[in-house]
């Protein structure tokens, strides 16, 4: 019985770490900043920062910026929104979408930000 249990544990850990590896491989290939833990899906924190010039490393435990917690599509939307001086009208002509559609997209991002702040 113990042998079966032991083998099941090995299979479980194998699947678990394969999943972990695949998730990280995905992050690395897409060059995206991971925001949630691939293992338990909790929000990640910044532990280490490194200077590219002198290779100085700063260790600590820092929260990710609010915008970094959003999806890349949402971040792109905010970037375009700022570039268009916060004009939904200009955004709608740039995205070729109607004004209320763009406003609804912005409202969804606001809801996400508020949820993240909580």
């Amino acid at each position: 019985m113990n042998i079966i249990q032991h083998k099941l544990n090995i299979i479980y850990y194998y699947i678990h770490y394969m999943n972990y590896f695949i998730t990280f491989a995905k992050y690395n290939f897409n060059n995206m900043l991971p925001t949630s833990c691939p293992s338990c899906h909790s929000q990640l924190k910044v532990k280490c920062l490194k200077c590219d010039n002198c290779e100085t490393e700063v260790s600590g435990l820092y929260d990710l910026p609010t915008l970094a917690l959003l999806t890349s599509e949402d971040q792109q939307f905010i970037l375009r929104f700022v570039i268009n001086s916060g004009s939904l009208k200009e955004m709608s002509s740039e995205l070729k979408l109607s004004y209320p559609t763009v406003r609804n997209m912005l409202n969804e991002i606001i809801t996400k930000i508020k949820a993240n702040e909580k």
Binding site: K96, L97, S98, Y99, P100, T101, N104, N107
Partner: protein
Amino acid sequence: MKSKDIFSLMINPFTRIAGWQAFGIGLTVVIITGITCTFSHVAFDGVIDMHLTHNLSFLNSFEFLAIDMFSVVIIMTATGLIISKSFRFIDILGTMTLSRAPFIILAIAGYFTVSPDINELIKNPLIVLQSVSFILLILLSIPVTIWTIILMFNALKISCGVNGSKLGAAFILALLVSEIISKILIYKLVRL
């Protein structure tokens, strides 16, 4: 453009067109519908209602359409005020006007329809079966009306930015109220 994109644009063009643009296109189609109805004797005497008449004046045709649009826009605006935090009146006006565009199909189809005589129809309702064009018009009116209702639903959804069961319940109630109001206004205001 893929067929899937065309289909989604047909049932929800409001992701791309809203406001004054939608109002302009919608009003043009409604005016053409009104003119066509005068010749095809199709009366849109209700928000989601259509009947064949034997004589329909130019004025009556536009009175029906104006009352229908007025009822829908007023009731949907009131619904928007209840269910949404912020929306623009022009979006409701534009999208709701454009939602009525499919009715042009029924207005054109009515031109090719021979309606049975009303007196004979009262005596023998089965006389309807003798007019193939009339049956085809009735069959065509079902998908067109469903299409219009879907468009109206998406118009309210996009204009007010609301989702879920709240939107569904509010829309059904608003559609019923606007239908009742349009019927009352037509009864009180239109002189046939």
